[in-house]
C-alpha cells in the first residue's frame, strides 16, 4: 500500500519533471487522455511506434549526411518526417532541434546540419531514456486511478 502509493507518487513526480524540463509538451497530455480502459497502454504503444520510426529515420539521415555533396532536400524531407513524429508524441526538445536542422537545410548550411544533427540525436536519446524509465516505473506502480493531471 504505502509502497504503492509511494511509487505512484514517484511516477507523478517523474512525469511532472518531464514537462517542467521541457522534454514533453501538451501533445503528450492529449495522448494520455486517449488512454483509457479500452486502451490501457495507448501512450506506450504510440511511443513504441515512435521509436521504431525514428530509428529508421535517424539511420537514413546519418547515411545522407555521409554523402557528398549534401542533398538538402532529402535531408529536409527526412527531418520533416522526424519532426512530425516527434511532435505527435509531444517530444518538445527533439522537435526544436529538428526545426533547427531544417533551418540549416534551408540555408544550405552543411556544417550547421551536421552539428545540429548531433544535438537531435542527443535529445532523442535522452527523451527515449526518460520515457522508458517513466513507463517502467508506471508499470511497476501498477494500474491505479489516474491522478489528476497537472500539466
Amino acid at each position: 500500500m504505502e509502497r504503492n502509493n509511494q511509487l505512484h507518487r514517484q511516477v507523478a513526480l517523474m512525469r511532472q519533471s518531464l514537462f517542467d524540463q521541457g522534454y514533453l509538451d501538451e501533445q503528450f497530455v492529449q495522448l494520455e487522455e486517449l488512454q483509457d480502459d479500452t486502451n490501457p497502454n495507448f501512450v506506450e504503444e504510440v511511443v513504441t511506434l515512435y521509436y521504431r520510426d525514428s530509428a529508421r529515420l535517424v539511420a537514413s539521415i546519418e547515411q545522407a549526411l555521409d554523402n557528398r555533396p549534401l542533398d538538402f532536400n532529402r535531408l529536409d524531407s527526412y527531418m520533416h518526417q522526424f519532426k512530425g513524429s516527434s511532435s505527435s508524441i509531444g517530444g518538445r526538445k527533439v522537435k526544436a532541434e529538428c526545426s533547427q536542422f531544417r533551418e540549416y537545410c534551408r540555408t544550405g548550411n552543411g556544417e550547421g546540419c551536421i552539428r545540429t544533427f548531433q544535438q537531435v540525436k542527443r535529445e532523442y536519446a535522452t527523451l527515449r531514456k526518460k520515457l522508458e524509465a517513466y513507463f517502467q516505473l508506471a508499470r511497476q506502480a501498477g494500474p491505479r486511478d489516474t491522478a489528476s493531471r497537472s500539466t
Binding site: Q30, E33, H80
Partner: protein, 651 residues
C-alpha cells in the same frame, strides 16, 4: 439525419441517426505513430475509424467500398503516393470530403490543398478540438450536393481544388485560409444551413437522406429558373417550382435544395459587396486553418461592394475588367473574346481580383472563350481569382496592358466576379462579393480544370453595339444565355448570344464610369456608349436598373440550362471539378461563367446558377433600365462602335 444502411448501424432504437457519432473515417498516414495518435483521437470522437499507412491501399479500400466511408483524412507527404494526388482522386472519383494533414503549414501547401479539393487542411499534430468538428464537411457536402455521384463523377472531370471554391454556404469546403472573412462566411453559411434545416423538413430530408443525386443539367436549371421567375422570386416554393418544371425524376427535395443554393447564390451576390475582402472568402471549410494568406484574393473579394455597387461595378468591372491583375483571368477573358467581337470587356479580367484570388482554380480557359459571334462572349475569366491555374485565358489576354488599364478601374469588382466567368454567361449579377467568394471558392476547383471564363464579355460586345442582334435581344431582354455548354472556351455558340446580352447588360451597367474611362482609350465609341451606360449605370446604382438587368439575367436564366447545378457550395465542398461556374453573377461583371472545359456541363450550370442568383433582382432592374435607355438610344448599337476586336487587344 436519417439512418441509412450506409451508416454503420449507429442508430438508436428509435431510428435516429447519431451522427456525427459513428461517422466513418478513413485515416491515411505513412508515419505509424502519427497514424496511431490520429486513430486514437478519432476514436475518442466516436467516429468509426479505419486506418492504413499506404495511400494505394487507401484508394483501393475506397474504391471497393465506395459507400462505406464518409470522410478521408490523409497525410500530405507519403512515400507511395503524393497526398495531393490521393486527394484529387478521391475527390474526383468518389466525391468524398478529404481533409489534409501535414506538418507543413505553409501557405502554398495549404493553397495547393485547397485547389486540389481538400475540405480542410490541418496541421500536425492533430488536435482533438479540430478533429471533433470534421464531421461538418460531411454534412455540408450532403446538404448541398444532391447529385448523382456517378454522373457527377463522369461529367465532372476532376476539378482540382474545387474544394477551394466552395459555394457560399459551404464555402468551407475548401480549406479556409485563416481569415475572418472566411469564418464569417462560414458562419453565415452555417447559419443559413441551420436555417434551412429548421425551415425545411425538406432540408432535413436532403441532408439526412442519401438520395440518388440529381444532376442539374443546363436544361433543368433553365426550367428551374424560368419557373422561379414565373412564380416570382419571393413566391417560388419548391412544390410550385416542381410543378411548373414538370420534369420527371426530380423530387421536391431536389428542387428545394437547388432553390436554396440559388438563393444563397443570389444572396451572396448581393452580399458580395460587403465582403470586401477576399480573405473572407474562404472557400475552404471553416477550419480556418488555412491562413487567409493563402488567398491572395483576400483583398479582392473584399472589394465587392454592395450589390448595387457591385452591379455597377460589376459591370464596369466587367468592362473594366477586371483588373489587369487578374492576369490570369483577364487574359482568359480576353481570350474568350477572341472570337468575335472584340468584346471590350473581354479582356477584362473579370476580376482583377481574380488574380489575387489565387484560389481561383479558375481554370479559366479563357483562351477558349469563344466569343459568340454575336455576343462576343467575353468569357471573362471572372473567376480570376481562381483561375490561378486555369486561366488559360491569359493567353487570350493579349494585351494585358490595355486591359489592365481598364480593369484597374474595376478591380474592385472584378474580383468577385472573377470567379466564374464562363464564357457566355455573364452572370455577374450583383456579384456581391459573396458571389465571388463563392466563385472563388469554386475556383478552387481542382486546379486541373481551368474553367474557361467565358466572360460575359461577349455581352460587352453586344452592348458595345457590336451589331449583333444583341441589341434587339437585349432589349427584349431575351438574354439567351446559351448555356455554356461550351464551357471551355467554346462558348461561341449561340449560347453566347445570350451571354452577350447578359453581358451587355452588364456591360452597360458596368460601364461604370471608372472603367469607362479606360475604355475610352480603347474604344471611342465605347465612350459614347459608356455614357449611355453610365446612365444606365447610374440607374443601376439606383438599384432600379438593376432590375432590368436582372430581367435580362432572369431571362437568360431561363434559357440557361444549367448543366450541373453545381451549387457553388457543393462545388466548393466537393472540390469536384464541377466547381464550375460559379460565375458570379455580376451583372456588370461579365462574370463569365468559367466553366472548365471538362466540367462544362457542370460549370455552366453553376455559373448559371450563380449568375442568376446573383443579383437577380438587380438584373431585373437593370434590364428595365436598360430597356428604357435603349428605347431612348440604342445601346447596343454600333455606337458603341466596338468592332469585334480580338480579345486580346481589348484587354
Amino acid at each position: 439525419m436519417k439512418v441509412e444502411d450506409k451508416k454503420s448501424g449507429l442508430v438508436n432504437e428509435d431510428g435516429k441517426d447519431r451522427f456525427p457519432v459513428g461517422m466513418r473515417v478513413l485515416a491515411v498516414d505513412d508515419d505509424a505513430s502519427c497514424l496511431k495518435v490520429l486513430e486514437g483521437m478519432l476514436r475518442k470522437c466516436r467516429y468509426q475509424v479505419t486506418t492504413t499507412n499506404e495511400a494505394v491501399m487507401a484508394l483501393n479500400m475506397l474504391r471497393d467500398k465506395r459507400n462505406k466511408f464518409d470522410l478521408v483524412i490523409s497525410d500530405v507527404n507519403m512515400p507511395d503516393m503524393d497526398g495531393f494526388k490521393l486527394l484529387e482522386l478521391v475527390g474526383l472519383e468518389l466525391d468524398l470530403p478529404v481533409i489534409m494533414l501535414s506538418g507543413h503549414g505553409d501557405t502554398e501547401l495549404v493553397m495547393k490543398g485547397i485547389t486540389h479539393g481538400a475540405c480542410d487542411y490541418l496541421l500536425k499534430p492533430a488536435r482533438m478540438e479540430e478533429l471533433k468538428n470534421i464531421w461538418q464537411h460531411v454534412v455540408r457536402r450532403k446538404k448541398f450536393e444532391p447529385k448523382e455521384r456517378s454522373k457527377f463523377a463522369d461529367v465532372v472531370k476532376p476539378l482540382d481544388g474545387s474544394g477551394a471554391g466552395e459555394y457560399g454556404p459551404v464555402s468551407t469546403s475548401n480549406v479556409d485560409p485563416n481569415g475572418k472573412p472566411n469564418k464569417k462566411r462560414k458562419d453565415q453559411t452555417e447559419d443559413e444551413e441551420e436555417d434551412s434545416e429548421e425551415n425545411g423538413n425538406e432540408n432535413d430530408d436532403l441532408s439526412t437522406q442519401k438520395k440518388p443525386r440529381v444532376v442539374w443539367s443546363v436544361d433543368l436549371h433553365r426550367k428551374f429558373v424560368s419557373a422561379v421567375h414565373q412564380l416570382g422570386f419571393e413566391k417560388a416554393v419548391p412544390k410550385k417550382i416542381l410543378d411548373l418544371m414538370n420534369v420527371e425524376g426530380i423530387t421536391r427535395e431536389n428542387v428545394a435544395s437547388h432553390l436554396q443554393k440559388y438563393r444563397l447564390y443570389l444572396k451572396r451576390i448581393s452580399n458580395g459587396a460587403s465582403q470586401a475582402e477576399f480573405g473572407d472568402f474562404h472557400p475552404l471549410t471553416g477550419s480556418g486553418r488555412l491562413s487567409s494568406a493563402s488567398y491572395p484574393a483576400g483583398g479582392m473579394l473584399g472589394r465587392l461592394s454592395t450589390p448595387a455597387s457591385l452591379g455597377l461595378r460589376g459591370i464596369t468591372s466587367s468592362g473594366a475588367y477586371r483588373t489587369n491583375h487578374m492576369q490570369k483571368f483577364s487574359s482568359s477573358m480576353n481570350a474568350v473574346g477572341t472570337t468575335r467581337t472584340a468584346n471590350p470587356f473581354q479582356g477584362i479580367p473579370t476580376s482583377l481580383e481574380l488574380n489575387q484570388l489565387q484560389q481561383a482554380n479558375v481554370k479559366a480557359h479563357v483562351g477558349e472563350f469563344t466569343i459568340d459571334k454575336r455576343n462576343a462572349r467575353v468569357a471573362t475569366n471572372l473567376s480570376d481569382a481562381r483561375a490561378v491555374t486555369g486561366v488559360s485565358s491569359n493567353s487570350l489576354y493579349n494585351s494585358p496592358r490595355s486591359n489592365q488599364g481598364f480593369l484597374q478601374g474595376n478591380q474592385v469588382q472584378t474580383q468577385d466576379i472573377g470567379g466564374f466567368v464562363s464564357g457566355p454567361y455573364f452572370v455577374d449579377k450583383s456579384r456581391s462579393n459573396d458571389m465571388w467568394h463563392g466563385s472563388v471558392q469554386l475556383s478552387s476547383f481542382p486546379s486541373s480544370n481551368p474553367l474557361p471564363l467565358n466572360g460575359t464579355m461577349n455581352l460587352d460586345q453586344r452592348s458595345m453595339g457590336s451589331s449583333s442582334s444583341v441589341n434587339p435581344q437585349f432589349l427584349e431582354g431575351r438574354i439567351e444565355f446559351s448555356s455554356t455548354g461550351t464551357m471551355s472556351g467554346t462558348m461561341n455558340d449561340d449560347r453566347s448570344d445570350i451571354k452577350c446580352e447578359a453581358g451587355l447588360v452588364n456591360i452597360v451597367q458596368n460601364v461604370n464610369f471608372g472603367p469607362v474611362q479606360r475604355w475610352e482609350e480603347q474604344f471611342q465609341n465605347y465612350k459614347q456608349n459608356l455614357s449611355q451606360n453610365n446612365e444606365m449605370n447610374c440607374l443601376v446604382p439606383a438599384g432600379g436598373s438593376a432590375g432590368s438587368v436582372s430581367h435580362i439575367m432572369g431571362q437568360t436564366n431561363a434559357h440557361f440550362s444549367p448543366n450541373a447545378e453545381v451549387s457553388l457550395p457543393s462545388l466548393l465542398n466537393s472540390g469536384a471539378p464541377s466547381a464550375v461556374c460559379h460565375a458570379e453573377v455580376d451583372i456588370s461583371s461579365m462574370d463569365s461563367i468559367i466553366t472548365s472545359g471538362e466540367n462544362n456541363p457542370f460549370e455552366q450550370t453553376k455559373v448559371q446558377d450563380c449568375i442568376f442568383d446573383a443579383s437577380y433582382e438587380s438584373l431585373d432592374e437593370l434590364m428595365n433600365v436598360i430597356k428604357r435607355e435603349h428605347n431612348g438610344m440604342p445601346l447596343m448599337d454600333a455606337d458603341l462602335g466596338f468592332d469585334p476586336y480580338p480579345l486580346g487587344s481589348c484587354i
